[in-house]
């Protein structure tokens, strides 16, 4: 080699790939069954075989799995969790923030008190809104963060930020990172399952749980409860009447035989074996998925606990609490069944897009009308979920995370609604490794901005904490993409110690 060439620093043989994991993944050369990472039990081997990349888990994990409840459209901290007596006192008075406020729309009307009264709950005495009173039974399990700040009042960017850590598309969902780090506990089910609102997707749709540059196995798998095929293509589509149980089992045997014949002379290509195995796993998923999604054998007291009403399948046209309880409760119950069987991350969505009639939390017009049924619905399901996990001994290593896009303004919009408030909002967590009955970080007297504006909490702090509970140093769980070592927390994030048990 010409020593003057710019390549003279090259070693004799090509250098090892940037990321062995990435390289192995993409090239498929000599990889073996790990090509099925995320769905194969052997995924752990991959992480272990790459210790420089994943000294994981770094800490002793407090939790093994996560259930995230995501309120699409931006749920009001003021009317649910963050009690502001000052607003009750000043209700109806002209709002004065003491500074110029850039509202998303024009929601800077008079101060507006919480639409529902607050009462203390649990030994911790946490005041909760009447509309989420069902959560009172588990108030001592919950830890609140009332000083979260966003970066924007634009729904889409805010949803991306909370769902992926970045406010633009192209980044993996938080569940993808969990799956990437933890792998799967049950190869017959996906590691990351998403239960969208049954009426449709929230802002950004499936991009919120897309694997982006992470290996695609880590993408959230959508489960649409109530559809004939709750998981896309789980069973033959309408046009496949010619597929019968007999034809199917024989087809699998025939494919295996033909594929083994093909692979015999290509023994060095592990992808071929991996693909043969993927068909075996697919067949097993066809058995496992319907079983986990079938709640019909759950006892009545459990169905009642979750607010599931099996007596009716028709609901009024107007949004109503019974329907919301039923819909959200079903998802919570299925989430419990999923984590019981080893699914790592379940994301449950409440609310679809920001259109009309409102079926999400974007209550510019009327908090009572939309937040009422939605809050009663999610609170019943979430409370049941926490209690049910607790009674089964699962709560101690399952994290519950309640998230939304941003908060809503303490001033009214049009008398009954509230505008966007990206300046402060609430998250709460419960379960594995969380110190229940606590509040970390407060908002100011109005719930307009953090009380201490110099020490707000960001989504990256929440994500760092979540990864910490799962046993990861958020700065070390990285993946190189287009020349950058990407991580869920971008370049910031601190573990919120006060939340930890």
């Amino acid at each position: 080699m010409n020593p003057g060439s710019p390549f003279h620093r090259l070693s004799r043989l090509p250098q090892p790939p940037v990321s062995r994991r990435e390289f192995l993944w993409r090239s498929g050369g000599g990889l073996g069954g790990v090509a099925l990472a995320g769905l194969l039990a052997s995924d752990r081997l991959l992480a272990a075989g790459n210790p420089s990349r994943h000294p994981a888990p770094v800490f002793r994990p407090k939790a093994k799995r996560v259930i995230q409840l995501f309120m699409g459209g931006a749920a009001s901290h003021l009317d649910l969790f963050d009690y502001k007596p000052e607003l009750v006192k000043r209700d109806g008075q002209k709002s004065d923030f003491g500074e110029h406020v850039e509202a998303f729309q024009d929601g800077l009307g008079p101060w507006m008190k919480p639409v529902w009264d607050f009462h203390p709950h649990g030994q911790c005495g946490k005041p909760l809104s009447e509309v989420v009173a069902d959560l009172g039974a588990v108030a001592d399990e919950m830890a609140f963060v009332h000083n979260l700040v966003g970066q924007t009042g634009v729904h889409s960017q805010a949803t991306y930020l909370q769902a992926t850590g970045f406010q633009l598309p192209g980044f993996p969902g938080v569940g993808c990172w969990a799956s990437y780090g933890l792998g799967s506990e049950n190869e017959n089910l996906p590691a990351f399952v998403v239960l969208p609102d049954h009426r449709g997707f929230a802002s950004n749709g499936p991009k919120n749980w897309d694997s982006a540059f992470l290996p695609p196995q880590h993408a959230g798998t959508v489960v649409q409860l109530g559809r004939p095929n709750p998981i896309a293509d789980l069973f033959p589509a309408r046009g496949g009447k010619y597929v019968t149980p007999a034809s199917e089992s024989e087809a699998h045997a025939l494919m295996a035989a033909l594929n083994h014949g093909h692979a015999a002379s290509r023994a060095d290509d592990a992808r071929l074996d991996a693909r043969i195995r993927s068909y075996e796993l697919a067949a097993r998923m066809q058995l496992a998925a319907p079983e986990v999604l079938d709640i019909s054998r759950e006892p009545n007291h459990i169905l009642d606990l979750y607010g599931i009403d099996s007596s009716t399948r028709t609901w009024p046209a107007e949004i109503n609490a019974a329907e919301e309880m039923d819909a959200f409760g079903r998802k919570c119950l299925v989430a419990r069944r999923l984590v019981e069987r080893g699914v790592r991350y379940v994301q449950i969505w409440s609310g679809n897009d920001n259109g009309f009639p409102r079926r999400n939390w974007d209550s510019h017009e009327d908090i009572r009308r939309d937040h009422g049924p939605l809050a009663r619905g999610f609170a019943r399901g979430a409370s049941a979920l926490i209690r049910d996990l607790r009674q089964r001994g699962l709560l101690e290593d399952t994290v519950i995370l309640w998230t939304t896009e941003f908060g809503r303004m303490p001033s009214s919009q049009g008398g009954k609604g509230r505008d966007h408030n990206p300046y402060v909002f609430t998250n709460w967590m419960a379960g594995g490794g969380i110190r229940g009955g606590t509040t970390v970080g407060e908002s100011d007297e109005w719930g307009y901005k953090p009380r201490d504006r110099n020490k707000p909490t960001t989504v990256h702090d929440i994500h760092a904490t979540l990864l910490h509970l799962l046993g990861f140093d958020h700065e070390k769980l990285t993946f190189r993409h287009n020349g950058i070592d990407r991580r869920l927390t971008d370049v910031s994030g601190e573990v919120i110690r006060g939340l930890l048990a």
Partner: protein, 894 residues
């Protein structure tokens, strides 16, 4: 300066984050970035043609590759057999499997140049451009919806996709290919490709709400526009020059020689443009005539405005008062948010839909007046939803079963769209309580059909509207309030309504009187001349051929929150260095430029300030396509190599920086780059060079000794077996089933059903019927939705249009298996294939022989024939076809 909404102390939490883009991290534990940032970057070193090592091989590629193999003592694999080669070439160059006849012809061809002729034939086929366009569309993250919230479709994005296909089929020289995409309008004025190529700038995602609903004056609006330019800069530099310039947004690049100022200089290049629907004429002569007419209009308007100003000045204070009264009266009109009544959406036009108004009591009617809607959906605008055929009936029976009079019957022939002009029907004093409009042929909306109406008025002899506020019922309604709901039909609001009250008319009379009194006769005559001139211009424009529309990066002439720079004559926005990428911390202003690390030109462009924004893009286009820009040529040949060999000479095609991989064959890379640059920049020549090499033609078979030394085959002792990309799988399934429609170009087919389009449309793939022949085209013509990717192709790793995909993921998963087993497309195509096979003469065995040739490019073995035919006899041919589609061999290419 307004106070910030998120005050600085709060923002301080984001001190190291700001835009969520800052993650350019030190690779703490990896130790794989071989060099620190101070080392020279290999990829920016000038290109020098290396000497070709001595070799007995005719193809210089082999001289380089073999020399390296010899040095390492590696034995190259033998050439693959001919059936393997024809399948490999067919997929690589055209993206489709060879037909059994093509395999047979090539296997039997004894011409020593048979291989070369096959290559030439495949390169000449239009399928080639379609195949390689898909690769390029991955790189530039082309999509046909915005992404983000309100993921609206881009109905006019497809011309860029067709441009890329055309450019590859016509073997466009690479420099020109670059120039057309960055500044084609400036560098090749009057050409179609000079416009349609600009779709490159607009290819990526766009935040509808951040632009269309938040003005640039707000911080959220500034953030959205900053992110928008960031996307354009990243797309340009990564696609053409393989550097991760976006890392320099918050600070100088940590590893590569890219300064923060370079980054904002690149933003300045795109400072005037937005993503926008651009109208243009294919014929330059027509474009010239249109421009001349536009000039006449603007001249006439200017004269009119001057005249009006003079008259207003003369009329003085009283006129100002009168104007205020008019404005106040206009404000009282109900808001335009209530657009009208809108039926459910239908997949076909010939569906009858009715809507009716209850007048409350029988009324003697003189006229029925229909007011059409205005909606910009799909660029329709005026006359949105007005039916193509319809009738109006009146009756006292709400069921219209008895005593019905047809007032107007337009059901026999299509009616021209009235735009927003009122449509009136005389009733001759007929008395009735109910008025019903029935559309008997709906109007096209996108690829579906609707009926919509803004207002129905039922006027009595006095001219009073008896329908106002009347109860509305309909066969169905989309009911998406406040914009679309039945009650809007009688709310008094429709496009062009001037308010309800008489106040407005009075106010206007007063104003007009004042104006008239202040106007001199000569001015009046001049005004009339101007009116005539404007009418003449409009009439002449109407005679010109319709303009085409393409979604491109260009100066946007908008209104509302999304103004663009059109109103300022395309003047670029000021670009300042943003501290930490924070729009609230603007620093020094930066002019247009490129990267200082490439020293062949000054890093800041010397542009005449009067030259217009296009000069900035033209300068960048020239800089990118300059023969002295080493990144451009290395990047291009490396991308082509990757698609032929499964891995680039540089394994990170989008990152030639310190964090990327080094080339495995640096001299070969440079030789190819120079060869490509200096010999017509012909991609087809480059393809020919690569695929005729012995390295390309090698077998994929393993070799224990070689695997021990180079298990990853980085030195190319064999060819890499490749897994078919999602599109190739889908296209092959359609082709083998005999259903592939090879029609080229035009609007994309949609393999989803759109529901609830008002906000963020719901793209429902599971409702699509794969039997729809419109969707049986090649996958490159698929309508690409960003927020809701096509599930079947996504699970098979197709590119995400929100990311710059230089190289796709390749995965194997149970979900993939389920998709190939159970997706409606596979099931229906298995059946079609089976029907075709069963129509052939012969036996089950002979039909399956044919199937094997079609799907796998080879005859079945005796054993395979026995087991497949036994299966087909027991479970039918469709099941056997489904098994073939699911085989490993179908999904991999040796």
């Amino acid at each position: 300066m307004k106070a910030s909404p998120i005050s600085n102390p709060v923002r301080a939490a984001w001190r190291r984050v700001v835009l969520g883009l800052a993650a350019c991290l030190v690779p703490s534990t990896l130790g794989t970035a071989a060099e620190g940032p101070k080392d020279p970057l290999w990829s920016v070193a000038p290109l020098v043609r290396p000497a070709v090592p001595p070799s007995s091989r005719p193809n210089p590629i082999d001289a380089f590759v073999d020399a390296r193999l010899a040095r390492e003592g590696l034995q190259a694999a033998p050439e693959a057999d001919r059936a393997t080669l024809v399948r490999r070439l067919s997929f690589d160059l055209g993206g489709l499997p060879p037909t059994p006849e093509e395999v047979d012809a090539f296997v039997r061809d004894t011409d020593p140049l048979a291989y070369e002729r096959l290559v030439d034939r495949l390169l000449a086929s239009p399928r080639h451009g379609e195949r390689w366009a898909r690769h390029w569309l991955d790189v530039v993250h082309f999509g046909e919806s915005h992404g983000y919230d309100k993921d609206k479709p881009r109905p006019n994005a497809w011309p860029y996709r067709d441009y890329v296909i055309r450019a590859f089929n016509e073997d466009r020289p690479w420099a020109r290919f670059i120039q057309e995409q960055v500044a084609g309008d400036v560098l090749f004025p009057g050409t179609r490709d000079g416009i349609e190529g600009l779709g490159f700038i607009a290819a990526g995602p766009w935040d509808f709400i951040g632009h269309a609903e938040v003005p640039e004056s707000k911080i959220d609006g500034q953030v959205a526009r900053h992110l928008d330019r960031d996307d354009m800069v990243g797309n340009t530099v990564q696609s053409f020059d393989s550097l991760t310039v976006q890392c320099a947004q918050c600070h100088n690049h940590k590893f590569d020689p890219i300064s923060q100022e370079d980054y904002y200089a690149l933003q300045a290049v795109f400072a005037a443009v937005d993503r926008t629907d651009f109208k243009y004429d294919l014929d330059p002569a027509v474009a010239g005539r249109r421009a001349a007419l536009a000039k006449r209009r603007s001249d006439a308007r200017k004269r009119g405005a001057e005249l009006a100003a003079a008259i207003a000045a003369r009329a003085g204070e009283p006129l100002k008062e009168a104007e205020k009264s008019v404005a106040a009266a206009e404000k009282q009109a109900p808001g335009s948010e209530a657009a009208g009544y809108h039926t459910q959406i239908e997949p076909r036009a010939d569906v009858a839909k009715w809507v009716q108004v209850d007048l409350g009591k029988p009324v003697a009617l003189s006229r029925i007046v229909l007011h059409p809607c205005h909606d910009d959906f799909n660029g329709i605008g005026d006359g949105f939803g007005f039916p193509v055929r319809y009738k109006i009936e009146v009756s006292d029976d709400p069921g219209f079963a008895a005593g019905t009079t047809v007032v107007v019957d337009r059901t026999a022939a299509d009616v021209p769209n009235p735009r927003v002009a009122a449509v009136e029907a005389a009733c001759g004093g007929r008395t009735a309580r109910h008025v019903r409009v029935t559309a008997t042929r709906l109007v096209a909306r996108q690829n579906d059909y609707i009926f919509a109406l803004a207002e129905l008025e039922a006027l009595d002899a006095s001219g009073a509207n008896a329908a106002r506020g009347g109860a509305v019922t309909a066969l169905d309604s989309i009911e998406a309030g406040p914009r679309w709901q039945t009650k809007n039909l009688t709310d008094g609001w429709y496009p062009g309504v001037r308010g309800d009250g008489l106040d407005l008319a009075a106010a206007k009379r007063k104003r007009d009187g004042l104006l008239a009194a202040a106007t001199r006769d000569d001015e009046r005559a001049e005004q009339a001349r101007i009116e005539r001139e404007l009418a003449d211009v409009t009439a002449a424009e109407a005679l010109l051929p319709a303009q085409r529309v393409a979604y491109v990066g260009a100066v946007h002439h908008g209104s509302g929150a999304f103004v663009g720079t059109g109103s300022k004559g395309g003047q670029p926005r000021l670009i300042r260095i943003l501290d930490r990428g924070n729009v609230q911390k603007p620093g020094r202003e930066v002019g247009p430029g490129a990267l200082h690390a490439l020293a062949f030109e000054p890093a800041r462009f010397a542009i005449d300030p009067a030259a217009g924004e296009g000069a900035r893009r033209a300068a960048l286009a020239r800089w990118l396509s300059d023969p002295r820009n080493p990144l451009t040529w290395r990047s291009a040949v490396n991308r082509v190599w990757q698609y032929h060999f499964g891995r680039g000479i540089v394994e990170t095609p989008n990152d030639f920086g310190h964090m990327g991989m080094r080339p495995t064959h640096p001299e070969l890379l440079d030789w190819l780059a120079v060869e490509f640059r200096d010999n017509g920049q012909s991609l087809k020549r480059l393809h020919r060079l690569m695929v005729t090499s012995a390295a390309y033609r090698r077998s994929t078979r393993g070799d224990a000794a070689a695997e021990r030394m180079d298990s990853d085959n980085r030195l190319l002792w064999r060819q890499n077996r490749r897994k078919l990309e999602a599109e190739a799988v889908r296209d092959s399934i359609l082709m083998v089933a005999g259903r592939l429609d090879l029609r080229m170009g035009g609007p994309s087919f949609q393999d989803f059903v759109v529901e609830k389009p008002e906000h963020s449309p719901h793209y429902e793939y599971h409702l699509h019927d794969p039997e729809d022949p419109a969707s049986q085209r090649r996958s490159v013509y698929r309508f690409i939705v960003r927020s809701q990717p096509q599930p079947f192709l996504s699970v098979m790793d197709c590119a995400d249009p929100s990311m710059l995909v230089g190289r796709r993921n390749e995965s194997v998963s149970p979900l993939q298996a389920l998709a190939l087993l159970n997706n409606a497309l596979v099931l229906s195509m298995s059946r079609h294939w089976a029907e075709r096979l069963e129509a052939l003469p012969g036996t089950v065995e002979s039909r399956l022989d044919r199937a094997g040739l079609e799907a796998l490019g080879r005859p079945l073995s005796a054993e395979e024939r026995v087991s497949l035919s036994a299966y087909a006899r027991r479970h039918g041919m469709p099941n056997a076809c489904r098994v073939l589609f699911n085989l490993n061999e179908f999904a991999f290419v040796d």
